[in-house]
Symmetry: C2
């Protein structure tokens, strides 16, 4: 994960870490800029130098939540994996991170889901970004001769539906079977079905290499 | 749908219809046996002849909710459709009914979801029943040479995961793409993937016939 490069970034990061701590302690409700300022021993007006509004602070909070997930997507898309393995890792690596976050502190995780519902537009911009990356992977698969006759729009919809329990953080928790191993089967089904399961036995995740 | 056969059943049905009306008016909270008795102009002790406890009443309420859905499953399982078409209709017919119920009265639908969460054990018995029927269809498909090398337990888990937005009533509403048309594609993917989409073009639902 990228580390803050400047004093300004370091101070902003400190404020966001304080906001996270407050959400962990109290849940997502009624946290003010004053609370966050106090937690950092900073004046309220000083906090506004970093975040001109509460909304700006929660946007940065969301950016911090999605940072690692976005890095995973970028890495996978830029790699030289085969399209199928790319699609698998695109979902599997984020599933593993999200599950670990949930297991580390379920209450905090659920608080972040509530914050996400309250800042729906911000979250949707990250969902759109994920769709954009997924479209790139599916286009690559189509370029490699897969999904003949299927329009990309429909394919996107179908893949999002089939993988919902592996991707939507709310469902991931509701559906215990949403494991990386089962994800492998579902990705294989997208390409060739379960018709001959010998062809879709689980395999270890391949290492990432960056496409030259 | 089966109609009440006896006076006893007719009176029980009247009480359940009154309970439904109260849930529609007030939402799922704080409805008592007294409220339901009053709505039917019946004494409280008379109501207990039909439902010995509030829990018994909500169990019957759930049975009434699931009746049509169970009849669909029974009909599809007993039909002579090919396994793939059977699996499709097993989900598609219930999806259509559930969506129609939601659209007819979204608030009532959501109230029933909350009631379902409060009576989790009752709902789970219907989920188990649905799993039982699905296992029969998948066993038939396996008997017809599909899913070679795949264990039924895993196959059940995978199919339930892939079809979650088409089956789980909470998700069905959250995922707009959960249409019968898209379901057809996903069922086809389970059997043969999207590898060659020409093979998985949507088709009209076939009529049901009972297997002789």
């Amino acid at each position: 994960m990228a580390r803050p490069q400047t004093d300004h970034e370091a101070a902003a990061e400190k404020l966001l870490a304080a906001a996270e701590e407050l959400v962990r302690e109290r849940g997502p409700v009624q946290i003010t800029i004053t609370d966050i300022a106090n937690a950092c021993g900073m004046s309220q007006s000083n906090v506004y130098r970093f975040f001109p509004s509460k909304e700006a602070l929660w946007e940065a909070f969301a950016e911090r939540w999605f940072r690692e997930l976005n890095e995973i997507m970028e890495e996978v898309v830029a790699s030289d994996l085969e399209p199928r393995e790319k699609l698998y890792q695109f979902f599997a690596r984020r599933l593993i991170v999200k599950k670990a976050r949930f297991e580390e502190d379920p209450d905090y995780f659920n608080s972040c889901m509530i914050l996400g519902d309250e800042h729906r537009d911000v979250v949707m911009s990250y969902v759109d970004l994920a769709d954009h990356y997924m479209a790139m992977i599916l286009a690559e698969a189509i370029g490699a001769g897969e999904f003949k006759g299927m329009k990309v729009d429909r394919l996107m919809t179908l893949v999002n539906l089939m993988l919902a329990p592996f991707c939507d953080p709310v469902l991931m928790v509701r559906y215990r079977g949403a494991t990386p191993e089962n994800l492998r089967y579902v990705i294989d089904a997208i390409f060739e079905g379960f018709g001959e399961a010998d062809a879709v036995a689980p395999k270890e995740m391949e290492p990432l290499r960056i496409a030259s």
